[in-house]
Symmetry: C2
Subunit: 305 residues, 2 copies
Protein backbone atom coordinates (compact mmCIF):
# COMPACT_ATOMS: atom_id res chain seq x y z
CA UNK A 1 0.00 0.00 0.00
CA UNK A 2 1.30 3.43 -0.91
CA UNK A 3 2.12 5.63 2.06
CA UNK A 4 0.07 8.75 2.71
CA UNK A 5 2.01 11.93 1.98
CA UNK A 6 0.91 15.50 2.69
CA UNK A 7 2.15 18.47 0.65
CA UNK A 8 2.77 21.61 2.70
CA UNK A 9 3.13 24.79 0.69
CA UNK A 10 4.17 28.21 1.95
CA UNK A 11 5.07 31.28 -0.05
CA UNK A 12 2.63 30.55 -2.87
CA UNK A 13 2.55 34.33 -2.73
CA UNK A 14 6.14 35.51 -2.44
CA UNK A 15 5.35 38.29 0.04
CA UNK A 16 3.49 36.02 2.48
CA UNK A 17 6.53 34.72 4.31
CA UNK A 18 5.49 33.53 7.76
CA UNK A 19 4.82 29.94 6.65
CA UNK A 20 8.22 29.81 4.95
CA UNK A 21 9.81 30.85 8.20
CA UNK A 22 8.00 28.11 10.09
CA UNK A 23 9.22 25.50 7.57
CA UNK A 24 12.81 26.75 7.94
CA UNK A 25 12.53 26.56 11.73
CA UNK A 26 11.11 23.08 11.47
CA UNK A 27 13.91 21.93 9.15
CA UNK A 28 16.47 23.09 11.69
CA UNK A 29 14.58 21.53 14.60
CA UNK A 30 12.79 18.45 13.20
CA UNK A 31 10.98 17.85 16.48
CA UNK A 32 9.34 21.27 16.39
CA UNK A 33 6.18 19.99 14.72
CA UNK A 34 4.64 16.65 15.49
CA UNK A 35 3.40 15.10 12.25
CA UNK A 36 2.38 11.87 13.99
CA UNK A 37 4.62 9.91 11.67
CA UNK A 38 2.83 11.13 8.53
CA UNK A 39 5.20 11.93 5.70
CA UNK A 40 5.20 15.51 4.48
CA UNK A 41 6.81 17.42 1.64
CA UNK A 42 7.48 21.07 2.38
CA UNK A 43 7.85 23.39 -0.55
CA UNK A 44 8.07 27.13 -1.22
CA UNK A 45 5.35 27.78 -3.77
CA UNK A 46 6.88 30.75 -5.54
CA UNK A 47 10.59 31.02 -4.68
CA UNK A 48 11.26 33.57 -7.46
CA UNK A 49 8.59 35.94 -6.16
CA UNK A 50 9.89 35.40 -2.63
CA UNK A 51 13.37 36.48 -3.74
CA UNK A 52 11.86 39.55 -5.40
CA UNK A 53 9.72 40.33 -2.32
CA UNK A 54 6.60 40.37 -4.49
CA UNK A 55 3.32 38.46 -4.62
CA UNK A 56 4.23 37.07 -8.04
CA UNK A 57 6.49 37.61 -11.05
CA UNK A 58 4.10 37.41 -14.06
CA UNK A 59 0.75 36.31 -12.68
CA UNK A 60 -0.78 35.11 -9.42
CA UNK A 61 0.52 31.54 -8.89
CA UNK A 62 -2.59 30.73 -6.91
CA UNK A 63 -4.74 31.39 -9.99
CA UNK A 64 -2.40 29.47 -12.33
CA UNK A 65 -3.42 25.87 -11.64
CA UNK A 66 -5.60 25.46 -14.70
CA UNK A 67 -5.26 24.00 -18.14
CA UNK A 68 -4.65 27.29 -19.94
CA UNK A 69 -1.61 27.91 -17.75
CA UNK A 70 -0.23 24.42 -18.18
CA UNK A 71 -0.43 24.85 -21.94
CA UNK A 72 1.81 27.88 -22.03
CA UNK A 73 4.83 26.09 -20.62
CA UNK A 74 7.30 27.39 -23.11
CA UNK A 75 6.27 30.96 -22.66
CA UNK A 76 8.06 33.29 -20.33
CA UNK A 77 5.26 32.97 -17.79
CA UNK A 78 7.05 31.90 -14.64
CA UNK A 79 3.95 31.03 -12.64
CA UNK A 80 2.38 28.92 -15.42
CA UNK A 81 5.52 26.80 -15.55
CA UNK A 82 5.82 26.66 -11.77
CA UNK A 83 2.23 25.43 -11.38
CA UNK A 84 2.91 22.69 -13.89
CA UNK A 85 6.16 21.80 -12.17
CA UNK A 86 4.54 21.54 -8.74
CA UNK A 87 1.85 19.21 -10.09
CA UNK A 88 4.48 17.07 -11.85
CA UNK A 89 6.57 16.89 -8.70
CA UNK A 90 3.97 16.50 -5.98
CA UNK A 91 0.65 15.80 -7.71
CA UNK A 92 -1.35 12.64 -7.08
CA UNK A 93 0.50 10.92 -9.94
CA UNK A 94 3.66 13.03 -9.66
CA UNK A 95 7.22 11.95 -8.94
CA UNK A 96 6.73 12.32 -5.21
CA UNK A 97 2.99 11.84 -4.95
CA UNK A 98 0.96 13.66 -2.30
CA UNK A 99 -2.74 13.14 -1.68
CA UNK A 100 -3.46 16.19 0.47
CA UNK A 101 -2.21 19.74 -0.10
CA UNK A 102 -2.17 22.39 2.62
CA UNK A 103 -1.39 25.89 1.40
CA UNK A 104 -0.42 28.50 4.01
CA UNK A 105 -1.29 32.13 3.29
CA UNK A 106 -1.51 35.43 5.11
CA UNK A 107 -3.78 38.41 4.51
CA UNK A 108 -3.77 42.10 5.35
CA UNK A 109 -7.46 41.71 6.32
CA UNK A 110 -8.38 41.06 9.96
CA UNK A 111 -9.47 37.50 9.24
CA UNK A 112 -7.81 35.92 12.28
CA UNK A 113 -7.10 32.27 11.44
CA UNK A 114 -9.44 30.62 8.97
CA UNK A 115 -9.69 27.87 6.39
CA UNK A 116 -10.65 28.29 2.74
CA UNK A 117 -12.16 25.44 0.71
CA UNK A 118 -12.74 25.67 -3.04
CA UNK A 119 -15.94 24.14 -4.29
CA UNK A 120 -17.74 21.44 -2.39
CA UNK A 121 -15.38 18.51 -2.52
CA UNK A 122 -16.27 15.78 -0.06
CA UNK A 123 -12.85 15.20 1.47
CA UNK A 124 -12.14 18.95 1.81
CA UNK A 125 -15.35 19.52 3.74
CA UNK A 126 -14.71 16.54 6.01
CA UNK A 127 -11.17 17.65 6.83
CA UNK A 128 -12.26 21.27 7.36
CA UNK A 129 -14.99 20.08 9.73
CA UNK A 130 -12.44 18.25 11.86
CA UNK A 131 -10.30 21.38 12.19
CA UNK A 132 -13.30 23.57 12.93
CA UNK A 133 -14.37 21.08 15.57
CA UNK A 134 -10.96 21.28 17.25
CA UNK A 135 -10.13 24.98 16.88
CA UNK A 136 -13.42 26.69 16.09
CA UNK A 137 -12.02 28.36 12.97
CA UNK A 138 -14.38 29.88 10.43
CA UNK A 139 -14.49 28.20 7.02
CA UNK A 140 -14.82 30.25 3.85
CA UNK A 141 -16.29 28.25 0.99
CA UNK A 142 -15.11 29.82 -2.24
CA UNK A 143 -17.38 28.85 -5.14
CA UNK A 144 -19.43 30.32 -7.99
CA UNK A 145 -16.77 32.85 -8.86
CA UNK A 146 -15.96 32.57 -12.54
CA UNK A 147 -13.38 35.33 -12.36
CA UNK A 148 -11.30 33.51 -9.80
CA UNK A 149 -10.12 30.02 -10.53
CA UNK A 150 -6.99 27.93 -10.87
CA UNK A 151 -6.24 27.61 -7.14
CA UNK A 152 -3.34 25.35 -6.13
CA UNK A 153 -5.22 23.05 -3.79
CA UNK A 154 -7.75 22.21 -6.52
CA UNK A 155 -5.04 20.15 -8.26
CA UNK A 156 -4.86 17.72 -5.34
CA UNK A 157 -7.60 15.25 -4.35
CA UNK A 158 -7.96 17.06 -1.04
CA UNK A 159 -6.64 20.47 -0.14
CA UNK A 160 -7.23 23.43 2.13
CA UNK A 161 -5.92 26.95 2.28
CA UNK A 162 -5.03 28.37 5.67
CA UNK A 163 -5.40 32.17 5.81
CA UNK A 164 -4.13 34.21 8.74
CA UNK A 165 -4.26 37.96 9.28
CA UNK A 166 -3.91 40.82 9.67
CA UNK A 167 -0.29 41.11 8.66
CA UNK A 168 1.33 43.48 6.18
CA UNK A 169 2.91 42.02 3.07
CA UNK A 170 6.54 41.02 3.38
CA UNK A 171 6.52 41.02 7.19
CA UNK A 172 7.42 38.28 9.65
CA UNK A 173 5.37 38.29 12.83
CA UNK A 174 5.70 35.96 15.79
CA UNK A 175 1.95 35.82 16.36
CA UNK A 176 1.27 34.79 12.77
CA UNK A 177 4.01 32.14 12.92
CA UNK A 178 2.49 30.67 16.13
CA UNK A 179 -0.98 30.61 14.62
CA UNK A 180 0.37 28.87 11.51
CA UNK A 181 2.12 26.27 13.68
CA UNK A 182 -1.03 25.55 15.69
CA UNK A 183 -3.13 24.91 12.61
CA UNK A 184 -0.46 22.82 10.92
CA UNK A 185 -0.12 20.62 14.01
CA UNK A 186 -3.87 20.28 14.37
CA UNK A 187 -4.18 19.28 10.71
CA UNK A 188 -1.52 16.59 11.10
CA UNK A 189 -3.13 15.34 14.29
CA UNK A 190 -6.55 15.10 12.68
CA UNK A 191 -5.23 13.44 9.53
CA UNK A 192 -3.51 10.93 11.81
CA UNK A 193 -6.76 10.24 13.62
CA UNK A 194 -8.51 9.57 10.32
CA UNK A 195 -5.63 7.29 9.36
CA UNK A 196 -6.12 5.32 12.54
CA UNK A 197 -9.90 5.39 12.18
CA UNK A 198 -9.86 6.88 15.65
CA UNK A 199 -11.98 9.82 14.72
CA UNK A 200 -14.94 11.80 15.80
CA UNK A 201 -16.59 13.91 13.11
CA UNK A 202 -18.84 16.72 14.29
CA UNK A 203 -22.50 16.56 13.28
CA UNK A 204 -22.52 20.01 11.81
CA UNK A 205 -20.25 22.36 9.98
CA UNK A 206 -20.53 26.15 9.88
CA UNK A 207 -19.74 27.46 6.43
CA UNK A 208 -19.35 30.98 5.10
CA UNK A 209 -20.47 30.44 1.54
CA UNK A 210 -19.10 32.91 -1.03
CA UNK A 211 -21.88 34.90 -2.65
CA UNK A 212 -20.03 37.71 -4.44
CA UNK A 213 -17.20 40.17 -4.24
CA UNK A 214 -17.67 43.91 -4.39
CA UNK A 215 -15.37 46.53 -5.83
CA UNK A 216 -14.35 49.84 -4.32
CA UNK A 217 -16.45 52.83 -5.41
CA UNK A 218 -14.98 54.32 -8.58
CA UNK A 219 -15.26 57.60 -10.42
CA UNK A 220 -16.12 57.95 -14.09
CA UNK A 221 -12.51 57.40 -15.13
CA UNK A 222 -12.47 54.13 -13.21
CA UNK A 223 -10.29 55.35 -10.37
CA UNK A 224 -11.08 54.27 -6.82
CA UNK A 225 -12.91 57.14 -5.09
CA UNK A 226 -13.93 55.54 -1.83
CA UNK A 227 -12.34 53.70 1.08
CA UNK A 228 -13.65 51.15 3.55
CA UNK A 229 -15.79 52.89 6.15
CA UNK A 230 -14.21 53.08 9.62
CA UNK A 231 -17.11 51.04 11.04
CA UNK A 232 -16.35 48.27 8.53
CA UNK A 233 -12.53 48.25 8.67
CA UNK A 234 -11.22 45.11 10.44
CA UNK A 235 -14.76 43.80 10.93
CA UNK A 236 -14.35 40.61 8.91
CA UNK A 237 -16.85 37.86 9.89
CA UNK A 238 -19.24 40.42 11.43
CA UNK A 239 -22.70 40.19 9.91
CA UNK A 240 -24.00 43.13 7.87
CA UNK A 241 -27.48 44.47 8.29
CA UNK A 242 -29.30 46.59 5.72
CA UNK A 243 -28.02 50.19 5.71
CA UNK A 244 -24.77 49.36 7.49
CA UNK A 245 -21.90 51.57 6.29
CA UNK A 246 -19.53 50.06 3.69
CA UNK A 247 -17.49 52.89 2.14
CA UNK A 248 -16.76 56.60 2.48
CA UNK A 249 -16.59 58.35 -0.87
CA UNK A 250 -14.37 61.21 -1.90
CA UNK A 251 -17.39 63.51 -2.12
CA UNK A 252 -18.40 62.70 1.46
CA UNK A 253 -21.14 60.28 0.44
CA UNK A 254 -21.47 57.06 2.45
CA UNK A 255 -22.11 53.85 0.54
CA UNK A 256 -24.27 51.47 2.52
CA UNK A 257 -25.08 47.79 2.45
CA UNK A 258 -28.32 47.51 0.51
CA UNK A 259 -29.03 43.79 0.53
CA UNK A 260 -31.98 42.35 2.38
CA UNK A 261 -30.05 39.26 3.41
CA UNK A 262 -27.57 39.50 6.29
CA UNK A 263 -24.30 38.77 4.47
CA UNK A 264 -21.03 38.31 6.29
CA UNK A 265 -18.04 40.21 4.85
CA UNK A 266 -14.57 38.66 4.49
CA UNK A 267 -11.23 39.83 3.08
CA UNK A 268 -12.06 43.45 3.87
CA UNK A 269 -9.27 45.63 2.46
CA UNK A 270 -6.90 42.82 1.45
CA UNK A 271 -4.05 44.74 -0.22
CA UNK A 272 -3.48 42.11 -2.92
CA UNK A 273 -7.11 42.18 -4.02
CA UNK A 274 -7.16 45.85 -5.00
CA UNK A 275 -5.78 44.86 -8.43
CA UNK A 276 -8.54 42.24 -8.67
CA UNK A 277 -11.15 44.97 -8.05
CA UNK A 278 -12.21 43.38 -4.79
CA UNK A 279 -12.77 45.60 -1.74
CA UNK A 280 -14.37 42.76 0.21
CA UNK A 281 -16.37 39.58 -0.39
CA UNK A 282 -19.82 38.74 0.89
CA UNK A 283 -20.67 35.32 2.27
CA UNK A 284 -23.70 33.67 3.69
CA UNK A 285 -23.30 31.97 7.06
CA UNK A 286 -24.84 28.52 6.95
CA UNK A 287 -24.95 25.55 9.26
CA UNK A 288 -24.68 22.34 7.29
CA UNK A 289 -25.20 18.76 8.38
CA UNK A 290 -22.06 16.75 7.89
CA UNK A 291 -22.66 14.09 5.27
CA UNK A 292 -21.61 10.49 5.72
CA UNK A 293 -20.15 10.42 2.21
CA UNK A 294 -17.79 13.32 2.98
CA UNK A 295 -16.36 11.42 5.90
CA UNK A 296 -16.01 8.28 3.82
CA UNK A 297 -14.24 10.17 1.03
CA UNK A 298 -11.63 11.48 3.48
CA UNK A 299 -11.20 8.08 5.14
CA UNK A 300 -10.80 6.39 1.73
CA UNK A 301 -8.32 8.99 0.51
CA UNK A 302 -6.15 8.85 3.62
CA UNK A 303 -6.22 5.07 3.76
CA UNK A 304 -5.81 4.61 -0.01
CA UNK A 305 -8.88 2.50 -0.44
CA UNK B 1 7.22 90.72 -0.64
CA UNK B 2 7.00 87.17 -1.97
CA UNK B 3 4.11 85.17 -0.60
CA UNK B 4 4.79 82.17 1.61
CA UNK B 5 4.04 78.88 -0.11
CA UNK B 6 4.07 75.41 1.46
CA UNK B 7 4.76 72.26 -0.55
CA UNK B 8 2.68 69.25 0.49
CA UNK B 9 3.91 65.92 -0.82
CA UNK B 10 2.16 62.55 -0.59
CA UNK B 11 3.04 59.32 -2.33
CA UNK B 12 6.79 59.93 -2.24
CA UNK B 13 6.60 56.17 -1.81
CA UNK B 14 4.07 54.86 -4.32
CA UNK B 15 2.53 52.32 -1.94
CA UNK B 16 1.89 54.85 0.84
CA UNK B 17 -1.39 56.17 -0.46
CA UNK B 18 -3.37 57.64 2.43
CA UNK B 19 -1.96 61.14 2.00
CA UNK B 20 -2.79 61.03 -1.73
CA UNK B 21 -6.36 60.18 -0.85
CA UNK B 22 -6.58 63.12 1.53
CA UNK B 23 -5.30 65.48 -1.17
CA UNK B 24 -7.91 64.13 -3.64
CA UNK B 25 -10.65 64.61 -1.05
CA UNK B 26 -9.44 68.11 -0.36
CA UNK B 27 -9.37 69.00 -4.08
CA UNK B 28 -13.00 67.92 -4.36
CA UNK B 29 -13.99 69.77 -1.19
CA UNK B 30 -11.71 72.80 -0.92
CA UNK B 31 -13.07 73.69 2.50
CA UNK B 32 -12.08 70.34 3.96
CA UNK B 33 -8.75 71.61 5.25
CA UNK B 34 -8.25 75.06 6.67
CA UNK B 35 -4.91 76.42 5.49
CA UNK B 36 -5.53 79.79 7.15
CA UNK B 37 -5.06 81.47 3.80
CA UNK B 38 -1.55 80.12 3.32
CA UNK B 39 -0.84 79.03 -0.24
CA UNK B 40 -0.03 75.37 -0.73
CA UNK B 41 1.08 73.19 -3.63
CA UNK B 42 -0.03 69.57 -3.42
CA UNK B 43 1.92 67.05 -5.37
CA UNK B 44 2.20 63.26 -5.69
CA UNK B 45 5.86 62.54 -5.13
CA UNK B 46 6.17 59.39 -7.20
CA UNK B 47 3.16 59.06 -9.53
CA UNK B 48 4.78 56.26 -11.59
CA UNK B 49 5.37 54.09 -8.53
CA UNK B 50 1.85 54.86 -7.36
CA UNK B 51 0.47 53.57 -10.66
CA UNK B 52 2.59 50.44 -10.32
CA UNK B 53 1.53 49.98 -6.67
CA UNK B 54 5.17 49.89 -5.62
CA UNK B 55 7.41 51.89 -3.29
CA UNK B 56 9.55 53.01 -6.24
CA UNK B 57 10.45 52.14 -9.84
CA UNK B 58 14.26 52.22 -9.88
CA UNK B 59 15.36 53.53 -6.49
CA UNK B 60 13.84 55.02 -3.36
CA UNK B 61 12.75 58.58 -4.31
CA UNK B 62 13.21 59.65 -0.72
CA UNK B 63 16.93 58.84 -0.94
CA UNK B 64 17.32 60.49 -4.36
CA UNK B 65 17.54 64.15 -3.38
CA UNK B 66 21.31 64.43 -3.63
CA UNK B 67 23.79 65.64 -6.16
CA UNK B 68 24.69 62.20 -7.52
CA UNK B 69 21.06 61.64 -8.47
CA UNK B 70 20.64 65.03 -10.07
CA UNK B 71 23.66 64.35 -12.24
CA UNK B 72 22.24 61.20 -13.82
CA UNK B 73 19.33 62.99 -15.41
CA UNK B 74 19.62 61.41 -18.78
CA UNK B 75 19.83 57.91 -17.40
CA UNK B 76 16.81 55.68 -17.17
CA UNK B 77 16.58 56.29 -13.44
CA UNK B 78 13.05 57.55 -12.93
CA UNK B 79 13.50 58.67 -9.34
CA UNK B 80 16.71 60.60 -10.05
CA UNK B 81 14.89 62.61 -12.72
CA UNK B 82 11.80 63.04 -10.59
CA UNK B 83 13.79 64.41 -7.66
CA UNK B 84 15.41 66.93 -9.95
CA UNK B 85 12.05 67.83 -11.47
CA UNK B 86 10.43 68.42 -8.07
CA UNK B 87 13.24 70.73 -7.01
CA UNK B 88 13.04 72.63 -10.31
CA UNK B 89 9.28 72.99 -9.98
CA UNK B 90 8.83 73.66 -6.29
CA UNK B 91 12.27 74.34 -4.83
CA UNK B 92 13.16 77.60 -3.13
CA UNK B 93 14.25 79.06 -6.47
CA UNK B 94 11.98 76.87 -8.60
CA UNK B 95 9.20 77.86 -11.00
CA UNK B 96 6.63 77.77 -8.24
CA UNK B 97 8.79 78.44 -5.21
CA UNK B 98 7.96 76.88 -1.85
CA UNK B 99 9.83 77.59 1.37
CA UNK B 100 8.51 74.73 3.50
CA UNK B 101 8.04 71.10 2.45
CA UNK B 102 5.83 68.65 4.33
CA UNK B 103 6.16 65.04 3.20
CA UNK B 104 3.44 62.58 4.28
CA UNK B 105 4.43 58.94 4.77
CA UNK B 106 3.04 55.79 6.34
CA UNK B 107 4.83 52.87 7.94
CA UNK B 108 4.04 49.24 8.74
CA UNK B 109 5.62 49.84 12.16
CA UNK B 110 3.41 50.80 15.11
CA UNK B 111 4.78 54.33 15.25
CA UNK B 112 1.46 56.08 15.74
CA UNK B 113 1.78 59.63 14.39
CA UNK B 114 5.21 61.17 14.55
CA UNK B 115 7.47 63.73 12.92
CA UNK B 116 10.88 63.09 11.40
CA UNK B 117 13.50 65.83 11.08
CA UNK B 118 16.76 65.35 9.21
CA UNK B 119 19.80 66.89 10.79
CA UNK B 120 19.55 69.81 13.17
CA UNK B 121 18.26 72.64 11.04
CA UNK B 122 17.02 75.56 13.08
CA UNK B 123 13.68 76.12 11.32
CA UNK B 124 12.84 72.38 11.28
CA UNK B 125 13.36 72.06 15.02
CA UNK B 126 11.30 75.18 15.72
CA UNK B 127 8.38 74.00 13.57
CA UNK B 128 8.53 70.48 15.03
CA UNK B 129 8.47 71.93 18.55
CA UNK B 130 5.26 73.82 17.76
CA UNK B 131 3.56 70.63 16.54
CA UNK B 132 4.80 68.61 19.51
CA UNK B 133 3.52 71.34 21.81
CA UNK B 134 0.05 71.12 20.22
CA UNK B 135 -0.30 67.38 19.61
CA UNK B 136 2.33 65.73 21.80
CA UNK B 137 3.81 63.80 18.87
CA UNK B 138 7.22 62.20 19.24
CA UNK B 139 9.99 63.63 17.05
CA UNK B 140 12.58 61.35 15.47
CA UNK B 141 15.80 63.19 14.68
CA UNK B 142 17.51 61.35 11.85
CA UNK B 143 21.21 62.17 11.71
CA UNK B 144 24.66 60.59 11.64
CA UNK B 145 23.57 57.89 9.22
CA UNK B 146 25.92 57.89 6.27
CA UNK B 147 24.06 55.04 4.56
CA UNK B 148 20.83 56.98 4.44
CA UNK B 149 20.76 60.36 2.81
CA UNK B 150 19.11 62.30 0.01
CA UNK B 151 15.76 62.87 1.74
CA UNK B 152 13.24 65.09 -0.03
CA UNK B 153 12.69 67.64 2.71
CA UNK B 154 16.43 68.35 2.90
CA UNK B 155 16.14 70.18 -0.45
CA UNK B 156 13.86 72.82 1.06
CA UNK B 157 14.89 75.48 3.60
CA UNK B 158 12.48 73.91 6.10
CA UNK B 159 10.84 70.53 5.90
CA UNK B 160 9.36 67.76 8.01
CA UNK B 161 8.30 64.21 7.33
CA UNK B 162 5.07 63.01 8.88
CA UNK B 163 5.07 59.23 9.55
CA UNK B 164 1.91 57.38 10.55
CA UNK B 165 1.47 53.69 11.26
CA UNK B 166 0.86 50.86 11.46
CA UNK B 167 -0.68 50.38 8.04
CA UNK B 168 0.12 47.77 5.41
CA UNK B 169 1.60 48.94 2.11
CA UNK B 170 -0.91 49.83 -0.58
CA UNK B 171 -3.84 50.10 1.83
CA UNK B 172 -6.22 52.97 2.47
CA UNK B 173 -7.40 53.27 6.06
CA UNK B 174 -9.81 55.81 7.48
CA UNK B 175 -7.88 56.14 10.75
CA UNK B 176 -4.62 56.91 8.94
CA UNK B 177 -6.38 59.47 6.72
CA UNK B 178 -7.87 61.21 9.78
CA UNK B 179 -4.49 61.30 11.53
CA UNK B 180 -2.89 62.75 8.40
CA UNK B 181 -5.59 65.42 8.21
CA UNK B 182 -5.15 66.42 11.86
CA UNK B 183 -1.39 66.89 11.52
CA UNK B 184 -1.72 68.76 8.22
CA UNK B 185 -4.25 71.16 9.74
CA UNK B 186 -2.14 71.67 12.85
CA UNK B 187 0.91 72.39 10.72
CA UNK B 188 -0.97 75.00 8.70
CA UNK B 189 -2.40 76.55 11.85
CA UNK B 190 1.02 76.80 13.49
CA UNK B 191 2.67 78.19 10.36
CA UNK B 192 -0.08 80.79 10.27
CA UNK B 193 0.58 81.73 13.88
CA UNK B 194 4.26 82.22 13.10
CA UNK B 195 3.25 84.31 10.11
CA UNK B 196 1.14 86.53 12.34
CA UNK B 197 3.79 86.58 15.08
CA UNK B 198 1.04 85.33 17.32
CA UNK B 199 3.00 82.41 18.57
CA UNK B 200 3.98 80.61 21.68
CA UNK B 201 7.02 78.40 21.44
CA UNK B 202 7.45 75.74 24.13
CA UNK B 203 10.52 75.98 26.34
CA UNK B 204 11.59 72.43 25.69
CA UNK B 205 11.51 69.86 22.95
CA UNK B 206 11.65 66.10 23.38
CA UNK B 207 13.79 64.50 20.71
CA UNK B 208 14.44 60.87 19.82
CA UNK B 209 17.93 61.18 18.41
CA UNK B 210 18.98 58.47 15.94
CA UNK B 211 21.93 56.47 17.23
CA UNK B 212 22.05 53.49 14.87
CA UNK B 213 20.02 50.94 12.98
CA UNK B 214 20.31 47.22 13.55
CA UNK B 215 19.87 44.41 11.05
CA UNK B 216 17.94 41.18 11.46
CA UNK B 217 20.00 38.21 12.61
CA UNK B 218 21.46 36.42 9.58
CA UNK B 219 22.96 33.01 8.89
CA UNK B 220 26.34 32.43 7.28
CA UNK B 221 24.87 32.77 3.80
CA UNK B 222 23.48 36.18 4.74
CA UNK B 223 19.85 35.08 4.92
CA UNK B 224 17.64 36.46 7.67
CA UNK B 225 17.35 33.81 10.38
CA UNK B 226 15.54 35.69 13.12
CA UNK B 227 12.35 37.67 13.57
CA UNK B 228 11.34 40.43 15.93
CA UNK B 229 10.61 38.97 19.36
CA UNK B 230 6.91 38.99 20.33
CA UNK B 231 7.73 41.24 23.31
CA UNK B 232 9.30 43.76 20.95
CA UNK B 233 6.78 43.68 18.05
CA UNK B 234 4.68 46.88 17.91
CA UNK B 235 6.57 48.36 20.88
CA UNK B 236 8.00 51.36 19.06
CA UNK B 237 8.93 54.27 21.40
CA UNK B 238 9.13 51.94 24.41
CA UNK B 239 12.49 52.18 26.12
CA UNK B 240 14.79 49.13 26.07
CA UNK B 241 16.64 47.95 29.16
CA UNK B 242 19.70 45.70 29.10
CA UNK B 243 18.76 42.07 28.38
CA UNK B 244 15.36 42.92 26.89
CA UNK B 245 14.41 40.51 24.08
CA UNK B 246 14.98 41.74 20.51
CA UNK B 247 14.79 38.74 18.14
CA UNK B 248 13.94 35.03 18.08
CA UNK B 249 16.36 33.03 15.96
CA UNK B 250 15.64 30.02 13.82
CA UNK B 251 17.64 27.82 16.20
CA UNK B 252 15.55 28.94 19.17
CA UNK B 253 18.14 31.38 20.47
CA UNK B 254 16.92 34.74 21.75
CA UNK B 255 18.92 37.81 20.81
CA UNK B 256 18.83 40.42 23.54
CA UNK B 257 19.52 44.11 23.86
CA UNK B 258 23.09 44.35 25.14
CA UNK B 259 23.64 48.09 25.42
CA UNK B 260 24.12 49.78 28.75
CA UNK B 261 22.21 52.87 27.68
CA UNK B 262 18.41 52.74 27.57
CA UNK B 263 17.79 53.23 23.85
CA UNK B 264 14.32 53.72 22.42
CA UNK B 265 13.50 51.60 19.33
CA UNK B 266 11.64 52.99 16.30
CA UNK B 267 10.60 51.61 12.91
CA UNK B 268 10.38 48.09 14.33
CA UNK B 269 9.62 45.70 11.44
CA UNK B 270 9.01 48.34 8.76
CA UNK B 271 8.45 46.21 5.65
CA UNK B 272 10.27 48.60 3.31
CA UNK B 273 13.42 48.59 5.45
CA UNK B 274 14.09 44.86 5.15
CA UNK B 275 15.89 45.55 1.85
CA UNK B 276 17.91 48.23 3.64
CA UNK B 277 18.98 45.65 6.27
CA UNK B 278 17.18 47.52 9.01
CA UNK B 279 15.10 45.57 11.53
CA UNK B 280 14.69 48.60 13.79
CA UNK B 281 16.52 51.78 14.71
CA UNK B 282 17.74 52.84 18.13
CA UNK B 283 17.31 56.37 19.38
CA UNK B 284 18.19 58.25 22.52
CA UNK B 285 15.38 60.18 24.17
CA UNK B 286 16.55 63.68 25.06
CA UNK B 287 14.93 66.80 26.39
CA UNK B 288 16.37 69.85 24.70
CA UNK B 289 15.98 73.52 25.52
CA UNK B 290 14.45 75.37 22.63
CA UNK B 291 16.94 77.87 21.25
CA UNK B 292 16.05 81.43 20.45
CA UNK B 293 17.85 81.21 17.10
CA UNK B 294 15.67 78.29 15.98
CA UNK B 295 12.55 80.35 16.56
CA UNK B 296 14.07 83.30 14.76
CA UNK B 297 15.04 81.14 11.78
CA UNK B 298 11.47 79.94 11.38
CA UNK B 299 10.02 83.41 11.85
CA UNK B 300 12.44 84.86 9.28
CA UNK B 301 11.75 82.08 6.77
CA UNK B 302 7.98 82.36 7.02
CA UNK B 303 8.04 86.15 6.90
CA UNK B 304 10.70 86.34 4.18
CA UNK B 305 13.03 88.50 6.15
Amino acid sequence: MMQLQVLLVAGTHGNEINGIWLFDEWNKSPFLINTHGIKTCQVIGNPEAKKAGKRYIHQDLNRSFQEESFLCLNSSNFEGSRANELVNLYGEVGENPCQIALDFHTTTASMGSCLVVYGRRDADLALASLIQNKLGLPIYLHESDQKQKGFLVECWPCGLVVEIGPIGQGLLNSRIISQTKLILETLMEQINQVKNINLFFPEKLEIHRHVKSIDFPRDEAGNIDGYVHPLRQSKDWQELKKNDELFCKLNGEIIRFEEDEPYVPVFINEAAYVEKNIAMSFTKRELWNLKEKWQQALIDLINHK
